[in-house]
Symmetry: C2
Subunit: 342 residues, 2 copies
């Protein structure tokens, strides 16, 4: 009763191997042939046994996604985009949420190898670069997303963190702010390091050195935001502007500002890094550095599929070289939380 | 060079079939035996070929999760909890985001069958109950989460929507409100229907009929929230309280209240349904009906694994009967957005 691959090939007027290539998601087939085979398969109700065909073709049509959490808006946007784009190309996503726990990440990487994934997209903790290299060495394409730990292998699709930080600080400087505070992530994480260096660079370009009393760098947690605001606003000369670059701390940062009764932007201008769907509705609407999470997801998929299919990239270079670094631009979205100091 | 199952069994002092059962995730093994086998496998660096073993055992160790989106806080909390709990039990999650599109959902169900998933958790659109029944009929356990479309098969783990709505309205009535407005989802979706019926029931118990001018039922979209607030607040006798039961519309609802300059709670008390991590930090902090997303995820996993392992449930009943309905309690979290009418 089950329809065979032979029947699909005959109905489509192609060889069995061509039909097989189309149905296994290979891109090395003309669009016309692809359509003919897919429509024949659909008409006949053909259902491949992916487990068995996985053994033959060594393709599982599974992609591993190792990611920090889904609460952060950038991460859940990336996960949605990635899953839907991969699905359109015939791949399903094995979701692995690490909570930044290196032991858990290690276990996931092991499991993904067991499941013979065809590719891996990872927002890495940076503690398991040896295993990520093993995955690469096993011939499985790897895209490092948003974080490029030292010694990692594979391609990197990175946010424009430094550039975004510069945009935020230049915006504040342009309004006349000089006492600009910074709440950021830890120096061990790319976004923590790069946003801080953008902050320092933009200040330096205006002839300003950061005031140590106005800088807070620490973990991606809500309490860190709360504590930092309490400390910064208690400084002998409090800031007139705050660049909040630690997204996970933002709930704490905003909560503490409300608790202290700080009026934004009258008393303190505020720029947050990474967009969230409720920022436009805050009182006042929050000026943000949008890190283009959607584009980060799209480009990670594109680069991964290019490696899987061994296609040359847009520049014409074959991708079988060392890892490529792709940076996605950030942009500033000005809303009501920033104004000239009074 | 590769370590074989025989070697693991020998090192653990058990038979090959026992070792196999442990490593394939079966629960029918004593805890002591499980530990012995797992520690031997780890010590020796054993890596099962899950694709090949999937063919032999007919287990893929994959679970399909079909869900509406990841932007809604309930959905991303559920996805995180479900993935991490299943991982602890040896299963990986194939994530499928539908955006409420029935055609996409249909394609996902097809693909999940191709991948021979061992189970399915679905927040269904309600348009593909025939296919969900086919999945069940193929012997794959199904848990319907948050939505139980008519004619669906499998177990259902549902939120306490009606009960939660009653809690919200009773809270407002208890403060002295009588003109209570409602913004909810469409009647075709469980949460839209059940929250409205709880709203009506709680009002009825206080001898009040809902004012049609104060009721808005419509799609789970941001613009619907904006439009509804504009209409409700323009009523000849505007409400003194609003129960916002349409979570996706909430961004629009809050934005419109800010835009109109409505003071909460002085001018309008507000209760929102479904918790979000930023609600405690809104001005004022928002009173919510928490639908216990974490518990919904946990219970869905528990029920699914029970079916996969064919274990009796806590009440001692074998689970090979018709689908079970499990309801997760809602609770009211009172914050600063509700007060007595002035």
């Amino acid at each position: 009763m089950a329809v065979t691959l032979d029947e699909v090939a005959e109905a489509a007027g192609v060889s069995k191997s061509t039909a097989s290539r189309v149905l296994s998601g290979s891109s090395r087939v003309s669009a016309q042939t692809r359509r003919a085979v897919q429509s024949a398969a659909e008409r006949l109700g053909y259902r491949p046994n992916r487990v068995a065909s996985g053994l033959r073709t060594r393709r599982s049509n599974l992609i591993g996604l190792v990611i920090t959490n889904l609460v952060n808006a950038s991460f859940h946007v990336i996960t949605e985009v990635l899953q839907q784009r991969l699905d359109e190309c015939g791949y399903q996503v094995l979701l692995c949420v690490t909570d930044s726990d290196p032991a858990r990440e290690r276990r996931y990487l092991d499991t993904l190898l067991d499941h013979r994934v065809d590719g891996l997209v990872i927002v890495g903790t940076g503690e398991n670069t040896d295993m990520v290299r093993q995955v690469s060495a096993a011939g499985i394409p790897v895209v490092n997303l948003m974080r490029a730990p030292v010694g990692v292998s594979g391609d990197c699709v990175m946010a424009g963190d430094r550039e975004g930080a510069e945009l935020a600080v230049q915006h504040l400087l342009g309004m006349g702010h000089r006492r600009i505070a910074f709440i950021g992530g830890p120096p061990e994480v790319d976004s923590g390091r790069d946003r801080y260096s953008g902050f320092v660079a933009a200040l330096a370009a205006a002839g300003i050195e950061p005031y140590p009393a106005l800088v807070a760098r620490g973990p991606y947690t809500v309490p860190f935001g709360t504590e930092s605001v309490m400390r910064l606003m208690a400084a002998a000369h409090p800031p007139t502007a705050l660049y909040s670059a630690n997204h996970e701390a933002t709930f704490g940062t905003l909560g503490a500002l409300v608790q202290l009764g700080v009026r934004v932007p009258e008393q303190l201008s505020l720029v947050c890094h990474e967009e969230a769907p409720w920022f436009p509705y805050w009182h006042p609407p929050i000026t943000v550095v949008d890190n283009s999470a959607r584009d980060l997801g799209e480009l990670a998929v594109e680069q991964l599929l290019r490696r899987i299919d061994n296609r040359p990239d847009d520049a014409g270079a074959a991708p079988d070289d060392a890892g490529r670094l792709i940076r996605v631009g950030s942009r500033l979205v000005v809303r009501g939380s920033t104004a000239a100091p009074r």
